[in-house]
Amino acid sequence: MELIRAIREGQVGDVIAVYSSDAGSKMDIPKWVEKAGHRLVGVETRDGYDEIVVEKLR
């Protein structure tokens, strides 16, 4: 949800990193990114949270 807000308010080309402790995020966010036409830069599992990086493409 925070990602959607950041994408909405960002510029094309912005790279946004989401830090999430919700296990569902690393499943849900890539699905949304694909549907919304942006680029998934990467998903990294850190200590107790996931880092999901997205580039706004349109």
């Binding site: 949800m1 959607i4 807000r5 909405r8 849900d28 549907k35 919304a36």
Partner: protein
């Protein structure tokens, strides 16, 4: 003198005020503490009733009572619009120039809707987040003779997360009763990848949507409305045609807390999950819709947060540690969920335990109706 000032006379503010005077009775009698509640209109509005103006024959005038009538007589009520929280001088200033100093501050200023953030929202979309809008939706439903109904969400977070699903279920039931169901299509747009944020609730609601023939569109974040073509467009690049459009408007926190530098542009106050203190400040608390907590924006949330705020402030005033089950907030929320056809269920959860909603039945629907009717005598006074 310990002056406790509470901003906002909704569920959270009213309940904190009433619980605090009970805990501080001795201190107030000795003039060592005071509790002041500031409300812009001096009216307490039962917002969960709005949906029933649209869906259940509720009347707006029954949803409002004077704030004074709900407050313990020891609570001082100040009616007026707040223009500034002046942290440097520990005071709040009202638009008429009145200044109220505090030692402890409770921010219960709720959320506000900002439909104007979506162009054409006002002319094209209906909602049920004010009494007036809910009545207009009722009139639109009365005039509806068949066609495409699109129900969607135009911004996260928003008040009462189950409400748009409930409205979809209730409208579907109504259309069947009126013999219009076969002449109508219903579409429900969820901003995320499933019908509802909480997975267990989504698992309960998705088959009900399917059974009722309401088409679910996931990842549909409403971004724009094209009134000429009567289509609603999503951030994800899809569009849906409508004859009747019902959208949850975007929400923000109170402008006051943004202007006073306590919250970012979204207006949601950075709030500790357990102590409910704002941004690490020891003497400023937030509850209800005003916070940025990962919980439903609902009266129920404020209802279960209020005892923690009251206990923590009373402990500070009395120079003791907070104790008992209200020393720390666990994220408890409990709310009813209508599924139509006179049935409902109950969602009860906290930070660590997702809800396990019982199979929808008549009991929980009646529970919601009775709760709505008895609210005035129970919640604000701290009786439940």
């Amino acid at each position: 003198m310990n002056r406790v000032v509470i901003l906002g006379g909704g569920v959270g503010g009213t309940l904190v005020a009433n619980l605090l005077v009970r805990k501080l009775r001795y201190d107030i009698d000795r003039h060592e503490a005071s509790v002041t509640l500031v409300d812009q209109l001096g009216q307490h509005v039962y917002q969960p009733g709005f949906m029933y103006i649209a869906m259940g024959g509720e009347r707006a005038e029954k949803l409002v009572r004077p704030e004074r009538s709900l407050l313990d007589e020891e609570v001082q009520l100040q009616v007026g619009r707040i223009s500034l929280i002046d942290e440097a001088n520990s005071l709040v200033e009202l638009e008429d120039g009145t200044q109220i100093g505090y030692e402890e501050l409770v921010i219960a200023t709720g959320s506000r809707i900002v439909p104007e953030e979506i162009e054409h929202f006002g002319e094209e979309a209906h909602h049920f987040y004010t009494a007036e809008a809910a009545l207009e939706l009722r009139h639109a439903l009365d005039a509806f003779t068949g066609g495409r109904i699109v129900i969607g969400i135009a911004g996260l977070p928003y008040k009462c997360p189950p409400a748009p699903l409930e409205v979809a279920f209730l409208i579907e039931s109504e259309l069947r009763e009126r013999g219009l169901r076969k002449k109508s299509e219903m579409h429900y747009c969820s901003p995320i990848g499933r019908a509802f944020t909480i997975e267990s609730v989504s698992e309960m609601a998705t088959p009900i949507l399917a059974q009722k023939g309401i088409e679910l569109h996931t990842f549909f974040n409403v971004e724009a409305i094209d009134p000429a073509r009567k289509v609603v467009q999503s951030l994800e690049g899809e569009e849906l045609a409508y004859d009747l459009l019902i959208l949850v408007p975007p929400h923000r926190g109170a402008k006051l807390v943004i202007d006073s530098g306590l919250a970012p542009a979204s207006g949601w106050l950075p709030t500790d999950h357990h102590t409910l203190q704002v941004g690490g400040r020891p003497n400023v608390y937030a509850l209800g819709d005003a916070t940025d907590l990962p919980l439903s924006k609902a009266g129920s949330t404020a209802h279960f947060e209020a005892p923690i705020v009251a206990e923590r402030i009373a402990a500070t005033v009395q120079g003791r540690e907070p104790n008992g089950k209200h020393a720390s907030y666990t994220g408890k929320v409990m709310c009813f969920f209508e599924v139509g056809d006179g049935k409902g269920t109950l969602l009860q959860f906290d930070y660590d335990h997702p809800p396990k909603p019982p199979t929808p039945n008549r009991f929980w629907h009646l529970g919601k109706i009775i709760f709505n009717k008895t609210y005035w005598h129970t919640v604000p006074r701290g009786r439940v």
